[in-house]
């Protein structure tokens, strides 16, 4: 069984990002980048499936400019077998990513596609679902457990009320939640081995996809500074403040 994992290059979660002075975007100049934590969980899950003898090949795909090869290499160091970069410029929105992934899915014919539920930069939580709609594949999102069983996969999902398990026919799409697994670290010998693993580069044209943009970023600004807390006198007081000041209820 072939597993395709999508990995995204994002700002490292430790970095406190700053908006550019002109408010056009986040300042990414000389900032540490890393593999999106949810994608890391996706890679780990795929590698575990391979180690368990369920998967035969793990392919890591990333969409972006050349620098995202760094994250593909990280996925390879964590145990993926080969990489695919779809070369794009600038930021690509979820729908375009989903379309490009669909192109890769058609080329590679994986039985399972594992993605992070969201990336920590855009926090969109859309790509997996859009890919499901575009390919017509079954989807199990927010996975906290994945069990392949013959030509089916049971995905336990983290939902508001608790856990829900869905049975999906393969091929299927899974998006990972935080508790699915604890990713390993790339060991030094594996980092070196990853350099020798194959990495193919495609353009959107190769996949028959036209990159168009439907979204315009109007403004990027830092969140308002947190104000010091206050003590309220009574519950009524609290409710009043939530209603009239914070306007959240």
């Amino acid at each position: 069984m072939k597993v395709l994992v999508a990995v995204k290059r994002v700002v490292d979660y430790n970095v406190k990002v700053r908006a550019k002075a002109d408010g056009s975007d986040v300042d990414l100049n000389n900032v540490k980048m890393a593999i999106n934590p949810f994608c890391e969980i996706a890679v780990e899950e795929a590698v575990r499936l391979k180690e368990a003898g369920v998967a035969t090949e793990v392919v890591a795909v990333s969409i972006g400019d050349k620098s995202c090869q760094e994250q593909i290499r990280t996925a390879l160091a964590l145990g993926a077998d080969r990489g695919i970069q779809v070369e794009t410029e600038g930021s690509v929105e979820p729908l375009v990513v989903a379309k490009l992934l669909k192109g890769v899915v058609e080329k590679e014919q994986p039985q399972l596609v594992i993605l992070g539920k969201q990336s920590i930069d855009g926090d969109n939580n859309q790509t997996g679902q859009m890919l499901g709609a575009l390919t017509g594949m079954a989807q199990g999102t927010f996975a906290s457990e994945v069990a392949v069983d013959g030509d089916k996969v049971n995905v336990t999902r983290e939902i508001d009320g608790g856990l829900q398990t869905v049975g999906l026919n393969l091929p299927a799409i899974v998006t990972t939640d935080l508790r699915l697994n604890e990713p390993r670290y790339a060991s030094l010998p594996n980092i070196m081995k990853a350099k020798k693993k194959p990495l193919d580069v495609f353009t959107p044209a190769d996949l028959g996809v036209e990159v168009t943009s439907h979204l315009t970023t109007l403004k990027v600004e830092p969140p308002a500074e947190r104000q010091a807390g206050i003590k309220v006198e009574s519950v009524a007081d609290l409710v009043d403040k939530l209603k009239n000041e914070a306007k959240v209820i």
Binding site: D27, N29, V31, T74, A77, A186, S187, L188, K195
Partner: protein, 599 residues
């Protein structure tokens, strides 16, 4: 912006802007590497350090290893950390591929290890000792010994320790008395006591390898009669399996003010039949071999001291940015909000001083790594020799400067926190206690001072090479508006170092006791000048960085901070050498003439 371990931006600056680490990729040995593999390796180091080392830094201090006369108890986190370090491949990263390594350049390995030191210096201590022991075996031991001991050391199944110090001999290693009796089959039985042996006993590995200094029965007195032996806690059969215990017993653990999670052991060799030991290399050459390894450990001590200074600084900086206290002198309005203490100029002084020590020390240690690297892998033999000479000259400084000023830096970190810094709510008092070891172990400061003035400086070529490099920096920095003043400031002080060095060396042998009496002061003058040079170098690199377009706001601040710290160091710290040089020039005899009975 809270800082956790070191400062990623600074590391990149040092690796790729100040030092040209990328150029190593052109060397045959590093062909398979790329800046990407370097980064991935540093990422792994940082992640492991955060998860497996930082988690028990305080716990290891509070619940230090104990010995009940039978066995040792240690917190379990220590072994998990050791295993994670070993499994990731850090114990033999710099070795050839066919030895299980990944041919990692020295500077990248040392930077990676700095993350571990920053997270937990005491637990990292075991790994540093082991790496150094393996390096020594690899360099000097016979093939059969290498085959038997290197693989398990690389895999982390065995660990290494250095058994040099004895109850009566610390600084004066040449006078040790542990004796080795030949048994005729090329092996020896060792009898004697060792003390302060770090990692001499623990629960991390199945076996421990002791590199032990001893005197073969009948060997000449002094340094010329010392040999180096490999002893192990358990005997190892030819097939690698463990056999019975060797005659090396733990007499007790020494409890100390810092580095508490590193066991300090008193060991009795040969209380019964004698501890079996294998001679490493030739008889009576032991100190030479040991010094080869000690030089590496000395650089590691300097780097560890820097990591502790860095962490104290990071933490006091985080605190100063969040602690409101007081108002600026110009503000007379008691109803106005208090400012964060970083707004007080005096707090910025303390932060700047720490920055100059942490980042200056980091640059110094990285310089040592590049010299170590070049001495081994530079393409031209001339380059290799030059690097070796300069490294030999600078080793006493690389060990001592970060150790001495690391203590000063951690002291300032406590001061920034005020009362909070004095409590165990914050790890700053622990950093201070940990740090205090560094001017003592691996040779007390005085010994390095004697080494620098009494030995290393006698090689005029090495000093010449250093001065040439400093001059090159002075020339480059003169061309930039940002650094032209700094350039002149360094030039004047380097002249001073030159003058007093010449005059001291000229007088040295007239009365060697008096000549070397102020060696520690000389070491300080020398160290300050070298670090000032590296600060000018950093400021020059930063000034060039400022000219780049586009330049993000964060980078702009980063470079400005470098230039400001260089000003601090060159105008607040470096000029101390003016009065120090005065004392040195006249061979000031006040300490020398003081008599024991006058105390």
């Amino acid at each position: 912006m809270t800082r956790r371990l070191l400062n990623e931006r600074d590391i990149r600056f040092l690796l790729y802007e100040l030092f040209d680490t990328e150029s190593l990729l052109q060397r045959e040995r590093y062909r398979d590497h790329s800046t990407e593999t370097f980064q991935q390796i540093l990422n792994t180091a940082q992640s492991l350090a955060e998860e497996y080392f930082e988690n028990h830094n305080v716990k290891g201090d509070q619940e230090q290893p104990t010995f009940d006369g039978e066995s040792i108890t240690m917190i379990p986190e220590t072994k998990r950390a050791w295993d994670a370090f070993a499994e990731a491949g850090f114990l033999c990263a710099q070795y050839n591929y066919d030895e299980g390594g990944i041919q990692l350049p020295e500077i990248v390995l040392r930077t990676a290890i700095s993350y571990f030191c920053a997270a937990n210096i005491a637990t990292t201590g075991y790994t540093l000792l082991s790496i150094a022991a393996a390096n020594l075996i690899r360099e000097f031991a016979s093939d059969p010994l290498k085959d038997r001991f290197l693989p398990p050391l690389c895999e982390g199944r065995f660990s290494g320790a250095m058994a040099m110090t004895e109850p009566n001999q610390g600084s004066a290693l040449a006078d040790i008395t542990t004796t080795a009796f030949p048994t005729g089959d090329g092996m020896f039985r060792l009898v004697g006591n060792k003390i302060f042996i770090s990692g001499g006993e623990h629960t991390l590995t199945e076996n421990i390898v002791y590199l032990t200094l001893a005197r073969i029965k009948g060997a000449p007195a002094g340094a010329k009669g010392i040999s180096l032996f490999l002893c192990s806690k358990y005997h190892v059969e030819d097939d690698g399996s463990l056999a019975q215990r060797n005659d090396i017993k733990l007499s007790g653990l020494i409890h100390k003010m810092g580095y508490r999670n590193t066991t300090s052991t008193a060991l009795a060799f040969g209380e019964e039949e004698g501890a079996v030991g294998y001679l490493i290399g030739e008889a009576n050459q032991g100190l030479k071999y040991m010094f080869h390894m000690m030089n590496e450990v000395r650089i590691a001590v300097g780097a560890g001291a820097v990591a502790l200074a860095y962490q104290g600084w990071n933490m006091s900086l985080n605190y100063a940015r969040e602690r409101p206290q007081g108002r600026l002198p110009s503000n007379k309005d008691p109803s106005s909000e208090q400012v964060m203490i970083v707004e007080h100029a005096d707090v910025r002084r303390m932060l700047l001083a720490q920055k100059s020590i942490a980042e200056g020390g980091m640059a110094l240690c990285m310089l040592a790594s590049t010299l170590f690297e070049d001495s081994k892998t530079a393409s031209e033999s001339g380059q290799r020799e030059e690097a070796q000479l300069l490294l030999d000259l600078l080793t006493p400084v690389v060990k001592s400067w970060p150790s001495r000023y690391g203590v000063a830096s951690n002291d300032l970190a406590i001061q920034v926190l005020g009362g909070a810094g004095y409590t165990s709510e914050y790890p700053l008092e622990q950093y201070y206690r940990d740090q205090r070891l560094n001017p003592i172990h691996e040779g007390v400061e005085a010994i390095h001072a004697l080494d620098l003035l009494g030995r290393k400086m006698r090689n005029g070529t090495a000093f010449r090479i250093l001065l040439d490099r400093i001059t090159a920096t002075i020339r480059r920095s003169r061309e930039l508006e940002e650094t032209v003043g700094l350039s002149a400031q360094l030039e004047r002080h380097v002249e001073l170092l030159k003058t007093i060095s010449d005059s001291l060396l000229a007088k040295l042998d007239r009365d060697i006791d008096l000549g070397l009496a102020n060696a520690s002061l000389y070491l300080d003058v020398f160290g300050r000048t070298v670090v000032a040079w590296l600060w000018l170098e950093q400021a020059t690199t930063a000034a060039l960085g400022l000219q780049r377009t586009p330049l993000g706001e964060a980078d702009h601040s980063f470079y400005r901070g470098k230039i400001q710290a260089a000003h601090y160091y060159l105008y607040w710290e470096l000029p101390q050498i003016e009065w120090q040089s005065g004392l040195l020039r006249e061979l000031n005899p006040i300490c020398f003439d003081m008599r024991n009975e006058w105390f």
